[in-house]
């Protein structure tokens, strides 16, 4: 294989085109995978199996109106996506989302499509913005 003007010895220089293309493709992939808003949670453990769209929980919307401890201490949502076993019957009975979504603090659970608003096929977990999709297991 012929080289520019100086004979290069380094593996990385000799193999520049291959690893460079791979790296370029990899770095181009990073921003394209993060369209959702930072901290959005997808709940789809049961929704689609029951014939509903997945639930999208927007953290940004809720933290404007409530401090963290309301949901994560008072209501008892574990800080781990998919760790909470949330059933619609519980919500209707005033647990989990239903602690507020009861037509008193926020709109009630009969407004199905407002929560069940996700694209079909989404996997449960935390999504979104800059570095949410890091190496962790949120």
């Amino acid at each position: 294989m012929k080289h520019c003007t100086v004979p290069h010895r380094s593996f990385f220089i000799r193999r520049l085109p291959i690893w460079a293309i791979l790296l370029a493709l990899f770095t181009l992939l990073i921003p394209s995978a993060t369209y959702a808003e930072y901290g959005d949670v997808i709940l789809n453990k049961r929704a689609e199996k029951a014939g509903m769209r997945p639930v999208i929980f927007p953290h940004w919307f809720h933290r404007i109106r409530f401090k963290c401890n309301v949901c994560h201490t008072e209501i008892g949502f574990k800080m781990r996506a998919s760790a909470n076993e949330i059933r619609m019957a519980d919500i209707v009975n005033g647990k989990f989302c239903g602690a507020c979504h009861n037509n008193q603090i926020a709109w009630g659970p009969e407004n199905c499509q407002l929560c069940h608003s996700g694209l079909p096929g989404l996997k449960s977990g935390i999504r979104g913005g800059d570095a949410t999709g890091g190496p962790g297991k949120w």
């Binding site: 181009l28 930072y38 901290g39 940004w60 919307f61 401090k67 800080m79 407002l114 608003s117 949120w138």
Partner: protein, 188 residues
Amino acid sequence: MKKECVAKRFIAVCVGLSIAQATLGAEPTSKIKSYWLPLTQDELHDPANPSLKLLQNPAEALSVLPRDGSGDQVNWVQALRNGNIKPRLNIRSSTQAEVFDLDVLFRNTDEMNMVNFPHKQHTEWMICSTCHEVIFKSKAGATKFGMLDILNGEYCGRCHGAVAFPLTECNRCHNVPRTRAEIPDRAY
């Protein structure tokens, strides 16, 4: 110059630019376009859902808040302190909270700057029992954890990287420099 050379240099420049974009692209102005997408375009909400138009779009709510260079581009601590937002503290009147102004210094950070943990910013958003004794023991030094745990979504990583500023913001936590003499020896 040979074609191969030109191609190599072009690729090298592309790589450089894309790395720079990925690492330095924290300027809020350049990010506004790709953040706060309308719900119909965020690849999460189903545009076919007729109720979508009833939901608030993030740009409407977030663009008026103090700006930050990472996460959802909002400086939430500042937003709270400025009174831009007034989130409710409780839905049960029994829940009481007070801001607790105590800094905890984490010295065991290898060659990185030491970490100063401010209770103040955290207790403005949460009450003691949100973290104690669930995630952290109250006694200083009693909870042993490392950066790998945090990157794996434990301890600080429960929130940071998910809803609070992300783990790419090293210096926001590692913000107490130590002198050269204090840096522990590394074995290479």
